[in-house]
Amino acid sequence: MKRRNIYLAVAILLFSVISMSFMTTEKITVKGSDTMVILAQKWAELYMKKNQGVSVQVTGGGSGVGISALINGSTDIANASRTMKQSELEKLKSRYGSLGVEIPCAKDGITIFLHATNPINELTLKQIGQIFSGKITNWKEVGGSDTEIKLYGRENSSGTYVFFKDNVVKTDYSPSCQTLPGTAAIVNAVKKDKYSIGYGGAAYAEGVKHCKVKKDDKSTAYEPSVENIKTNNYPITRYLYMYLRNKPTGAIKIYIDWILSAEGQKVVTEVGYFPVK
């Protein structure tokens, strides 16, 4: 009896070891946009709960950092809140002989954050650009109080920094614009500073006022709501992207297909962004 138990235990142990060797964990690395990091982490958590054999590792660092990691091979997926630059594409072509694969996975409206007590409720795109380039330095120039405007922005590895510069500021940022690492840090700073202004992804805006934005003096001002972003009425709308070196296959393809499915897009809405379709 004792011997039979030992044989049984050894057989079970052998079977477990052999079967476990077939149960390898697929690992997917995701790196990049700080705007997308919460969304990416939520996707990863939910997906790993439903797919035990897959491990999804998510880190931020900024869109630029993610794309560099994609080019040097240290990540499978690069999250980016801007499109790839031509110089980055050239590096990808030269290293991998590939144009890369761009997958829009969510929509975002870049929100202009104001302190809750700021009397300003709406600004034109031009005014926002002039504020962040340093041409407008006092709130009274845009109908507010006679106080200096304090600027908070992102570091230059951020896709949000690049997108905002190319589409709104259109020139250099003001040297007085304080650089902060991430939208959450900007929201925190604006919350504490009555005369400040910042910008970032819509998902992070809690405890601050969302400034309505209008294309010009004669247009309607829109706030960054679901409807206004869906219909592209809100002037500072952008796609959020996943970039890959090559066409996805295997576990990566299944993961991306899930992100783009109704279930994955539901997470987008829960986090505060907007579905890609």
Partner: protein, 464 residues
């Protein structure tokens, strides 16, 4: 009454004590606030300094290499990148050691400095200012020493899949760089790149100094097509070179048909020009595949220079029988020899005299004008993320004339097959193993066999 007085004095004491505590708390808060303000001031200075430092970017790479050469004979000299002493069949050496400093002065203005520290050789590679237009975001103006606008020249040695550039590109653009000004246009909304460069036209890799008043002109245009669904990208374009070079020591020119002609006098300019067509195809096929090629043809020029040798002999008669200067007749290759003799009297012991005769022979080579052509084709296949196979076939015909009449090594046509395997250990380290097989055309006269000059190489590259 006593009780009232007691309570009153207790109240006053409590009040005084509280006031003292509040005062001391206020003092402490003020003290901490001052320290925080001082800290803020110091932080502002540190932040400002750090921001200035982030404008400087340092990058570079080091290539350590081992070569094993097949040699024709003990007297054979490798003519690619370095002169190897005779009889040596293998070597370790530093092929490239580059450090590049980029300083972004303001948005749109960059300074770039890149020296190269190879074994026994320190050279300046890049030294230029680039100004990017901030209005249209289309134009860039380079001034200084920079890469000539050509695909293979501009493709960094740290990224290239095989060891060296093709023979035709090395022959036309020695040293890769030139000194001058270059204007680049890359519209953001249109996939076209145009480059125009005005350059000295005399850069040889060892000699950077301008030698004449003539300036050369280069132009290149490349258009990119993207078929995203199919995962295919195609870049295609054309380039051209128009220039001239001043002759130095010889008035004779040897043309492509090996006939000799005279310019009339040394110092006249002779033209050089060529055109090229290029294409690069990228296909996201099983991990990535690239097919790249270029064809160039035209007229190239080599300036004839002097080669001088001196012999000193002692004789016991005077210089009377020695002519002071003789110029030979022009040889079949356009060269001629000038022999000069000078003498000096040497007093020997016992009051005897000898004469020291110094004979200087200067061979002046003819200037060469050659109709040439050349091309290269690369096939690069990525295997997974870390491995890459590459093969290149390149042809260089320095002289399109009848191959049976070619007598000079410099006119010899070469076809070269290079194969390489690259392993990307991580984002900084790459190992390359490759084999280069140059095959020269043979003829019935001078070059009856293929010169044995294959090279097996192993390279370790570290890049940061």
């Amino acid at each position: 009454m006593k009780k009232v007085l007691f309570v009153l004095s207790l109240l006053i004491a409590t009040q005084l004590f509280s006031q003292t505590r509040v005062d001391s708390l206020k003092e402490s808060i003020d003290d901490h606030k001052m320290r925080l303000d001082a800290f803020d001031e110091r932080m502002a200075t540190i932040v400002s300094d750090v921001e200035k430092l982030t404008k400087i970017k340092i990058s570079g790479y080091l290539q350590s290499q081992f070569d094993y050469y097949d040699q024709q004979s003990a007297n054979y000299l490798k003519t690619a990148n370095s002169i190897i002493p005779t009889g040596i069949t293998n070597s370790f050496y530093i092929r490239r050691a580059r450090l590049k400093a980029t300083y972004e002065a303001t948005d749109g203005v960059k300074f770039v400095l890149q020296p190269d520290f190879s074994t026994g050789n320190i050279a300046l590679k890049d030294a230029y200012v680039v100004i990017n237009d901030r209005w249209l975001k289309t134009f860039s103006l380079y001034a200084g020493q920079f890469n000539r606008p050509n695909y293979e020249v501009e493709y960094s040695s740290s990224s290239r899949e095989v060891f060296e550039r093709s023979k035709v590109v090395k022959a036309l653009y020695p040293g890769e760089r030139e000194i001058g000004a270059k204007l680049e246009a890359k519209p953001t909304q249109f996939p076209l790149k145009v480059q125009l460069a005005f350059i000295n036209g005399n850069f040889t890799g060892t000699e950077a100094k301008d030698a004449d008043n003539a300036k050369d002109f280069m132009a290149r245009a490349v258009y990119s097509l993207k078929f995203q669904q199919q995962g295919i990208g195609i870049d295609f374009g054309a380039n051209g070179y128009l220039g001239q070079i001043r002759t130095k020591d010889s008035k004779y020119i040897q043309k492509s048909d090996l006939k000799i002609d005279s310019l009339g006098y040394a110092g006249k300019h002779i033209p050089k020009s060529w055109i090229g067509a290029e294409m690069q195809i990228y296909w996201d096929f099983l991990g990535g595949l690239a097919l790249k090629g270029e064809f160039i043809a035209g007229k190239n020029t080599t300036i004839g220079t002097n080669q001088t040798s001196t012999i000193t002999t002692k004789i016991d008669t005077s210089l009377t029988n020695y002519p002071s200067k003789i110029i030979s007749s022009v040889a079949a290759d356009g060269s001629f020899t000038t022999t000069t003799n000078t003498s000096s009297k040497v007093t020997m012991p016992g009051n005897n005299h000898l004469y020291e005769i110094t004979t200087t022979k200067t061979v002046t080579k003819a200037n060469l004008i050659r109709n040439f052509s050349g091309y290269y084709i690369y096939l690069v296949k990525n295997i997974g993320k870390d491995h890459q196979l590459a093969a290149r076939w390149d042809n260089y015909t320095p002289n399109n004339f009848d191959k049976d009449k070619i007598t000079s090594y410099s006119d010899l046509t070469f076809n070269t097959l290079t194969v390489a395997w690259n392993y990307f250990y991580d984002e900084n380290i790459r190992i390359t193993i490759g084999y280069e097989m140059p095959m020269n055309k043979t003829n019935n006269t001078t070059f009856k066999k293929d010169v044995i000059d294959n090279t097996f190489s192993v390279r370790l590259q570290a890049k940061f």
